[in-house]
């Protein structure tokens, strides 16, 4: 007997539901998008238990006619496209005709709706995909959909749901993002009786931003308004003051559809690179209007991913849009001299920063005559420049990054076997033939995520530390780098990065011993948060209390801090709190306690900086001594390399002694 059967419709819907309906937030996204497609200008959402037990979405859109109400729950029933060709020119949010069917397959849905010309509405109840009730109902024009018992018949899904507050956080997040792309629609979200989001719906984007992110953010916006033959880009970018340590405050829309796209984020990063510190991410809210035929939204059922017919064009447009906004900002004075980025598409991420460092150092003059070295540096630098300008790396960037998370500037992360089989973890200046694809990737370091760094840190081992013992100190260059000669290689040590690492480890030890003290505050500090940050902060208040931040809610989406960790009395407490909050929020899972500790060390660390200083040989010796006793002496706490290696073989190649 054959094994293949055609699934009955219910089963098929359940499977489809898995793709569309991942959690309460995705239900809300689909339903709210339907309301937007229905032309509503007032959409209110009510949830209980993070949307797991109850969701109701009410809109004042066009409603569904009595005849269609039942049909709406059918798979592939849509009023939005008629044939495949229409996919080329989608202007509505929905087009697949599967959202309602999928939701109804895994929950109990009641639809109440009335169209304008009809005197009465209709109510349809569907549970687990089967219609259980269909009757006329009195209701206002528009649609109200109630979803209960989500995933009641798919226990596997149900099990994966997180805590109510976490799910509520996701809902607030997605609804905020949708609201931000529709300033003409007033959105309200009520979570178990309390209103957590409300946008005015007056068509003014800035006041929508204000209602979602608060006054502080609204005050630091730069308007983006860009147009070329293909794109119209509008929205806001935030000044450095409101930058965050993660991308949570970045929302990008294509034709008002919230999406994620690496080409776009890297264009933004590039434009911002000289305006913002490494590791900080600007506030971004951009809607990119483009002819629907140039973008494919039908990549995944969640419609979060898009494909452009030409990535480079998108990169260019976004880059210019953001750059124009930044340059028009009057308070931005003298850019670092690397910022020639306006005319050519050089990435000025870490490679740009390097170039400027170099120039700066040269002014001070090398304190040791290292002619050959200088030459190598120049040559490497030139090569990099050539590679960068000769390549349109923009689009290739993301791909390359995925292929290798290795370092920039000819610097690869190299793992090599040591005598005892352990692996050292030193950044090495690589052999020419192997580095081409990486040269084309100009600035991945800034993008290497913390987890990757941590993975790398974990990689280091005692064997590598031997280099600090079995080497001869040549001296110090530019009051910044220490040169060491090994058996068959030359090491460069970034003294600043190395010192930071030492300091970091010391602090970490001392924090493990003594929790920080808490400074009580005289005048409380008021902090505006986004709804999801707010929910998170409240649900994890104990964690923050342990760190020294005690706070209480101060109305919707804002809190007041009553105390702060006593680390450094000059520190910006609000910023410290937000940094830690974001750091903890982005630490996807795992041990929250460890993550908060880590966040705290970082805060402490930031306040201890060592200036450029000329070291005497004894001081260098001492530095190496301390380094060799560290767990990971190879990167600074922020993930920048602290040690580079230039192998003799590579030098000889550069001098054409060998070919």
């Amino acid at each position: 007997m054959g094994n293949i059967i055609i699934l009955d419709e219910n089963t098929a819907n359940k499977i489809a539901a898995g793709e569309v309906v991942e959690r309460p937030a995705s239900v809300i996204k689909e339903l709210v998008e339907n309301s937007i497609d229905a032309g509503a200008n007032n959409i209110s959402v009510e949830i209980r238990n993070g949307g797991i037990s109850f969701i109701r979405i009410t809109d004042n859109g066009c409603g569904i006619s009595e005849d269609d109400a039942e049909l709406a729950f059918e798979r592939h029933a849509t009023s939005k496209i008629r044939r495949a060709d229409d996919l080329e020119s989608i202007t509505s949010m929905g087009f697949r005709g599967e959202a309602l069917a999928s939701i109804a397959a895994v929950s109990s849905v009641t639809l109440m709706t009335r169209v304008k010309d009809s005197v009465q509405g209709i109510s349809v109840t569907v549970k687990g995909g089967c219609i259980t009730d269909l009757s006329p109902a009195g209701c206002p024009v528009g649609t109200s959909i109630t979803v209960k018992e989500l995933f009641f018949n798919t226990p596997a899904r149900y099990k994966f749901l997180k805590k109510d507050t976490t799910e509520a956080g996701y809902i607030i997040d997605i609804l905020s993002r949708i609201a931000l792309s529709h300033p003409e629609i007033s959105f309200t979200l009520v979570n178990t009786g309390s209103r957590v989001l409300h946008t005015p719906g007056n068509g003014d984007l800035k006041s929508t931003v204000f209602s979602v992110y608060g006054a502080e953010t609204a005050r630091h916006l730069l308007e983006v308004d860009y147009r070329d033959e293909q794109f119209r880009i509008k929205g806001f970018v935030g000044k450095a003051e409101i930058a965050r340590s993660n991308r949570n405050h970045q929302s990008i829309y294509i034709n008002k559809r919230y999406i994620r796209n690496k080409t776009i984020t890297s264009a933004i990063d590039t434009a911002f690179s000289t305006f913002i510190m490494k590791g900080r991410y600007p506030f971004v809210l951009l809607d990119i209007e483009v002819n629907p035929s140039n973008v494919d939204v039908n990549v995944h059922p969640s419609k979060m991913e898009v494909k452009f017919s030409n990535d480079q064009e998108v990169f260019r447009a976004v880059y210019h849009a953001v750059n124009n906004a930044l340059l028009s900002q009057s308070s931005v004075r003298t850019l670092p001299d690397t910022a020639k980025s306006g005319d050519s598409f050089r990435f000025t991420g870490s490679s740009g920063a390097h170039a400027s460092d170099k120039r700066h150092e040269r002014k001070e003059g090398p304190s040791y005559s290292q002619q050959e070295f200088e030459w190598v540096r120049n040559e490497l630098h030139k090569k990099r420049e050539a590679a960068i300008s000769g390549n349109s790396v923009n689009a290739a960037r993301d791909m390359v990054r995925n292929e290798s998370d290795r370092g920039a500037d000819n610097v690869l992360l190299q793992k090599e076997s040591d005598a005892d089989g352990a692996r050292t973890n030193v950044y090495s200046v690589e052999d020419e033939s192997r580095n081409d694809p990486v040269v084309a990737e100009p600035s991945p370091k800034a993008d290497i995520s913390d987890t990757e760094n941590e993975a790398r840190e974990a990689d280091s081992s005692a064997a590598g530390r031997e280099i600090f013992k079995n080497t001869r100190i040549i001296g110090q260059a530019f009051s910044t780098y220490i040169l060491l000669e090994g058996e068959d290689e030359l090491y460069l040590l970034d003294q600043h990065a190395a010192h930071e690492r030492i300091r970091y480890e010391e602090l970490k030890k001392s924090f493990e011993k003594d929790q920080p003290f808490t400074q009580m505050l005289l005048s409380v500090i008021h902090v505006d948060l986004t709804s999801s940050e707010y929910q998170f902060a409240l649900s994890e208040s104990e964690l923050f209390e342990r760190l020294g931040f005690s706070f209480e809610s101060f109305g919707t989406n804002s809190i007041i801090l009553r105390s702060a960790p006593f680390i450094d009395d000059g520190a910006d407490i609000r910023k410290g709190f937000l940094d830690i909050l974001n750091f903890v929020m982005s630490g996807s899972s795992g041990d929250k306690r460890a993550i908060t500790d880590e966040a705290l060390f970082r805060m402490a660390c930031r306040s201890s900086v060592m200036a450029h200083k000329k070291l005497d040989p004894r001081e260098i010796e001492a530095l190496l001594q301390s380094l060799s006793s560290l767990e990971n002496p190879f990167t600074c706490p922020h993930g920048r390399p602290a040690v580079l290696k230039l192998r003799r073989y590579e030098l000889e190649k550069l001098f054409k002694r060998i070919v």
Partner: protein, 367 residues
């Protein structure tokens, strides 16, 4: 313009107006000092936040005006011999500076574009002795906040109410309040202003601790200090200042009376083990039986100090950022002070034994 003026007078004026000359600007004229010669010479510096005008006696040969780069002009005059200096504006705004055997010809800027100081009517001012004002500023300025997130706290409250002048500074962790009451030396109508910390700093530097009076006027968002030969104007900070009276607790659980200098010395010694790298450790106070034991324990070392004190109320263990205590104790002139404590997480207040001339409130650190 052609003038002859003694180097000493000239330099006095330059030193004062330079405090209002901008150093970071894209407008070259703001880096300059405006010199106007009429009966005397008037020098003006103006960085658009603070403006200073200063009159200097001189022999005016020909009236006129010119703007000279402040740094260059100042450096030149400073290095001239102590003698008479001739300054003359030639064609094309070029300026001759001559003194004994030195002769400079430097480029000036026409005075036309120089921004004038805001005009403030000298009506209903506050009159107060320079010496007292200088002391009052010194005794409060250290608690001005540097946190730009709360701009209003980057200034001091300047409150004048029926003959009583009160200056208050608050940052996130402490409050410094100082008042002065005298019908003879202070007069004017009631008002409440918030003056930027930077302005107060400069004014404290300019005024001499002498028994002369200074007049203070305010209008709109500007303030004017009239020091006779010299006036200074400044922007005021806008917004509501915190209600400082509401912050100072009226009740206490523990009170000690100690010798100010001795306590300061204890704190200063205790802070020696709190090195730059150990800033996250507090100084701890153990108060019981007319004895205060002050300790600090850090990675760098430990210290224990004892000081006798008259004590009232409950025993208490409480910790502080040593810097806040030291900064307050350093500016108190009184030999003895009262210190009031609430709980070990509530504010503590340092006050004079009699009267209400000052109050320093400090928030503790808890474990």
């Amino acid at each position: 313009m052609k003038i002859i003026c003694s180097k000493e007078n000239l330099l006095d004026g330059i030193n004062i107006v330079q405090k209002a000359v901008s150093t970071k600007t894209t407008l070259p004229i703001l880096e300059g000092i405006l010199i106007e010669a009429d009966e005397r010479i008037k020098m003006t510096g103006n960085d658009l936040e603070i403006g200073i005008e200063c009159y200097v006696d001189a022999d005016i040969k020909r009236p006129g005006s010119i703007v000279l780069n402040s740094k260059m002009f100042g450096d030149i005059v400073r290095r001239l011999p102590d003698s008479e200096v001739l300054i003359e504006v030639k064609e094309n705004d070029s300026v001759i500076i001559e003194c004994e055997n030195s002769l400079f010809e430097i480029k000036g800027i026409s005075s036309e574009g120089f921004p004038s100081l805001p005009s403030i009517e000298k009506e209903e001012g506050i009159r107060i002795s320079k010496k007292i004002l200088k002391d009052m500023i010194k005794q409060t300025i250290f608690a001005v906040s540097i946190d730009e997130n709360r701009p209003i706290l980057t200034g001091s409250l300047f409150e004048y109410k029926s003959g009583k002048l009160t200056i208050v500074s608050i940052d996130g962790y402490r409050l410094a309040m100082r008042c002065f009451f005298s019908e003879n030396t202070a007069e004017g109508i009631d008002r409440s202003l918030v003056i930027p910390g930077k302005t107060l700093n400069e004014i404290a530097k300019i005024i001499q601790p002498v028994d002369e009076d200074i007049y203070i006027y305010a209008a709109g968002n500007q303030i004017l200090f009239d020091m006779g030969n010299c006036i200074m104007t400044s922007r005021l900070l806008e917004g509501e200042y915190l209600n400082y009276m509401g912050i100072i607790p009226s009740e206490h659980e523990t009170k000690i009376t100690v010798n100010t200098k001795d306590l300061l010395a204890c704190f200063e010694r205790a802070s020696l083990v709190i090195t730059n790298e150990e800033r996250r450790y507090p100084v701890k106070l153990d108060i019981s039986d007319d004895l205060v034991i002050i300790t600090a324990n850090t990675e760098a070392g430990n210290v224990r100090e004892e000081i006798r004190a008259e004590m009232e109320g409950k025993k208490l263990d409480i910790s502080f950022n040593h810097r806040y205590f030291i900064e307050a104790l350093r500016v108190i002139d009184n030999e003895m002070v009262d210190i009031f404590f609430t709980t070990n997480i509530g504010p503590c207040t340092i006050k004079p034994m009699q009267g209400n001339d000052f109050a320093y409130l400090i928030l503790p650190i808890r474990k």
